[in-house]
């Protein structure tokens, strides 16, 4: 019970801190959203029309006045779920924009994360099972090397080779101009084709962490007394590896996975930017560069909440999977 209260307290406190951070960051260095918006239209080669600038400013309703009052209003708006109107997509609301981008990120990154986790865990377990064999060396060294490659660079090379040189896949975007989002076969095949390269880029680097984590955990659990005793008991190797190795070694990975899912948005900025994918990450980067405070703040908050929920879920899952925690909680 106390545990629950503490978790909830932490949840609220973190949320408050994130909201406050959100509120403060744009106000520390006030850039002008209206100017940013017009600059996006005109570039830096034409003079800004001061009258137009004033009109846009007025339209966006950029806030003035007492910082504390602003903060209060802001908190109130957040609490009632009013994230306001996006500056760069005026008059669409922030909620509408996030709604548009969310499915793309969820599908692309969600699916690749799942696959990465599954593949990584399996490979890691295999390497640990065949510890010190050639398989182990190949998996361990291979993943270590691939793990050092900068993600965005891999992505660029993929574009260079498969999209530009070989022209097998489109260079970017979520779908082509020819197909409209909807429940059509054409659209899905088109969207699939557009997701191949970003997915591959994510899948190259995605499993690395899971492989290494799983291998090291499992090597450790297989060295524990219970695994040795299982060997002395004459249990089949495979059974030891599964029940006495992998079953226990996977626990920290599961927690990590839940947290990784929560951090989805954070990880997608690069991939979405490079592949021009219409998801949350790119929306965030765009919001930042356009000084679209409402959108940026909502996205940031959204991510923080995502991470918090994921952490909470990780705790719950862990408790479910690990009897040691489960019973301790029940008492």
């Amino acid at each position: 019970m106390l545990y629950f209260v503490r978790r909830a307290g932490f949840f609220v406190a973190t949320l408050w801190a994130a909201v406050t951070l959100n509120f403060l960051i744009p106000r520390i260095q006030p850039g002008d959203p209206a100017q940013a918006l017009l600059a996006r239209l005109q570039g830096n080669t034409q003079a800004v029309n001061p009258v137009q600038l004033e009109a846009v400013r007025k339209m966006l309703g950029t806030q003035d006045g007492n910082l504390l009052a602003q903060y209060w209003d802001y908190l109130g708006a957040i609490c009632t779920g009013q994230f306001g109107v996006s500056y760069s997509y005026y008059p669409y609301t922030v909620t509408e924009m996030i709604g548009t981008a969310l499915p793309w990120t969820l599908i692309l990154v969600g699916v690749t994360q799942l696959v990465s986790f599954a593949v990584g865990t399996l490979l890691g377990a295999w390497a640990a099972y065949r510890r010190n064999s050639r398989v182990d060396s190949v998996i361990t060294l291979g993943s270590t090397f691939v793990g050092t490659l900068p993600f965005f660079w891999i992505a660029l090379l993929l574009i260079f080779v498969f999209a530009i040189t070989l022209n097998w896949f489109p260079e970017g975007g979520g779908y082509g101009g020819g197909s409209s989002p909807g429940w059509s076969w054409l659209f899905f095949s088109d969207a699939f084709q557009h997701s191949v390269l970003p997915a591959v880029a994510l899948l190259i680097t995605g499993p690395i962490g899971w492989i290494i984590g799983m291998r090291n955990n499992m090597v450790q659990t297989l060295g524990e007394d219970y695994a040795r005793l299982a060997r002395a008991r004459g249990l089949p190797r495979r059974r030891i590896a599964l029940t006495y190795g992998a079953r226990i070694a996977i626990l920290p990975n599961v927690t990590g996975f839940a947290i990784a899912l929560g951090g989805l948005l954070g990880g997608t900025v690069l991939v979405e930017t490079i592949f021009n994918y219409p998801g949350l990450g790119r929306l965030l980067l765009e919001a930042v560069s356009n000084k679209d405070y409402p959108l940026m703040q909502a996205l940031f908050l959204f991510t923080t909440i995502g991470v918090l929920i994921a952490n909470f879920l990780a705790d719950v899952t862990y408790g479910f999977l690990d009897p040691r925690v489960r019973r301790a909680e029940a008492v």
Binding site: L37, A47, N49, P50, Q52, Y90, N167, E171, S180, N290
Partner: protein, 557 residues
């Protein structure tokens, strides 16, 4: 029975593979087809249509910052002021007349229909302006700051009355997009109206399809000058992939026209198909060296004048600007487009060449001597040192600044480069927190705004406060007088005299030193369509899409 689904699955897989393969080359192949036999162009691929990375339908012509570019082909204005030579072309109005300096009467074009079949009338114009008055955020050109009233004085006449002589706002008033009363009068709040389904306008194109990757508009057969429109469809393509992918698409010929920055246009674009790939970068705003006129030695005319020959403009143009731009005239005008405004007797249209020796001499003569170590001394006898601020992320500006700093250092100045963010840079410029930096001004078709914005003392503010647009803090009664004249005199002669006076201020008092004209990026492909504007036929610049569209004809026709 249970086996039935199996072959279907196989077919589906085959189909998907086929689609996949088709997709690999499909887009390109399909779009290479040339104009059709009917003397019409099937479709043209244009570049980006605005709306950021996740565009949402928005065809409200007044939401300048977020509307999609289809709105530019759906809504029209009374006159169309093309931005190359600033001619006002009769558009929804056939003509206009100043009945007195405060009264302007437009003659409405007869027979124009909205694309839903309803006739366009003077009442629509009156309604449009009334709406802008009511919802002032839509009035992005600020016409109601000068207007007193707008009235339909007859079926085909609209009379505008101004609070004071209104010549200076003619271009703005003429440029306001007119919307149909029968649609917009029902809109509760036009400031948040996105006008997403079947926007009703008078323009040559109608909305056909939208998705976040592609925006398609189709020819409006009932357009009032439909005979001039030879393009059946324009497809705008979301082009936000950033530099290289877009360049690649451009070089592959996937765009019939675009307006993007290309690093090495000749190699990356023209050379790929020299016969059809062309570009024309018309001059835009004037990019000048701003000096903080409240500080010594920049407050000294002689000093500023001496600097006019100190900068190697040509090197800036060739190295920093990759040869895409032209040297700016010290007059503050954009030449050659606005050369008619130049008073007589200005050599080389006001361009002042690089002459370090002359600058050195002029500085020395003005009392800024060098000391033994070659340091340029101020009037106080101390070496002159100042900072040149340039936004770090504007790579071309930084390169330009590097050249100018080199020039200044050669003259014995101690110049330090600072590279703040664009925001901090703009903030510093607006509040006067700088010694020397680049600024953009002028280049528009409203000559009053071109000079008033950067020079009028009404548009400045003390150091530390944000200036509206006079960021150099130029305060000069004569300039203010000339600007005032320009604002109120309806006749061209008086205006020209005022401009001549302002050019004189620019040339002799040197409030700033223009270096180059910002380029308006414009690439075009003559495979399918011809008639694009260019240096030989500068009937408009590339950004004047509506005018360009009326000039396009099928290639080889």
């Amino acid at each position: 029975m249970t086996r039935r689904p199996r072959p279907r699955t196989v077919t589906a897989v085959v189909a998907s593979v086929a689609l996949l393969l088709a997709g690999c080359t499909g887009t390109e192949g399909a779009q290479k087809s040339s104009g059709s036999d009917s003397g019409m162009i099937d479709f043209l691929n244009y570049g980006d249509f605005g709306g950021g990375t996740t565009p949402k339908p928005n065809y409200n012509p007044y939401l300048d910052a977020t509307k999609l570019s289809a709105a530019d082909y759906i809504y029209e204005s009374l006159m169309y002021v093309e931005t190359y030579s600033c001619k006002a072309l009769p558009w929804l109005a056939t003509s206009y007349e100043w009945s007195d300096p405060k009264t302007l009467v437009y003659q409405i074009r007869p027979g124009v229909k909205w694309n839903d079949g309803k006739p366009f009338t003077a009442a629509d114009v009156e309604f449009t302006f009334a709406m802008l008055k009511k919802f002032d955020v839509l009035d992005t050109q600020g016409v109601w700051a000068s207007l007193a009233s707008v009235e339909a004085t007859g079926a085909d006449r609209v009379t505008f009355t101004f609070k004071q002589p209104g010549a200076s706002v003619f271009t703005q008033v003429s440029g306001v997009k007119i919307v149909p009363q029968h649609v917009w009068s029902k809109v509760a709040d036009p400031t948040t109206f996105v006008n997403a389904t079947a926007p009703v306008g008078t323009g040559p194109m109608k909305l056909k399809a939208f998705n976040p990757r592609q925006l398609v508009v189709e020819r409006n057969p009932d357009y009032w000058q439909a005979d001039k429109i030879k393009v059946n469809e324009i497809r705008f393509n979301k082009a936000d992939a950033g530099g290289q992918v877009e360049q690649l698409k451009l070089s592959r010929g996937e765009y019939d026209t675009n307006g993007m920055f290309v690093q090495d246009i000749k190699k990356a674009y023209v050379d790929r198909d020299p016969e059809h790939h062309h570009y024309w970068y018309a001059p835009g705003g004037v990019i000048s060296v701003y000096m903080n006129l409240t500080k010594a030695p920049f407050d000294d005319v002689a000093f500023r004048k001496a600097l006019t020959t100190a900068f190697d403009d040509q090197q800036v143009i060739d190295k920093a600007q990759l040869g895409y731009v032209t040297e700016a005239s010290q007059s503050g005008l954009v030449v050659p487009g606005q050369k008619d405004w130049l008073p007589a007797g200005i050599a080389d249209e006001g361009r002042i060449g690089y002459d370090a020796a002359a600058a050195d001499k002029a500085l020395t003569d003005a009392g800024y001597t060098k000391d033994g170590q070659g340091r340029r001394l101020g009037k106080d006898g101390k070496p002159i040192s100042f900072a040149f601020k340039v936004p770090g992320s504007y790579v071309d500006w930084v390169a330009a600044a590097d050249i100018l700093i080199k020039n200044l250092k050669a003259l014995g100045f101690d110049v330090e480069k600072e590279t703040p963010t664009p925001d901090a840079h703009n903030q510093d410029r607006a509040t006067g927190n700088y010694d020397m930096m680049f600024g953009v001004h002028g280049g528009g078709c409203n000559m009053y705004a071109n000079f008033a914005d950067p020079l009028s003392s009404a548009r400045t503010a003390p150091i530390g406060k944000k200036a509206a647009s006079n960021e150099i803090r130029w305060q000069d009664p004569r300039t203010d007088e000339l600007v005032r004249t320009l604002q109120v005199s309806p006749d061209e002669k008086a205006q020209k005299e005022a401009v001549a006076g302002l050019v004189d201020v620019m040339m002799n008092q040197v409030p700033m030193i223009p270096i180059w004209y910002g380029a308006k990026w414009f690439q075009y492909d003559t495979t399918k369509a011809e008639g694009w504007p260019n240096e030989q036929d500068p009937y408009a610049d590339g950004a004047n899409g509506l005018v360009v569209l009326t000039h396009l004809v099928p290639a080889g026709g």
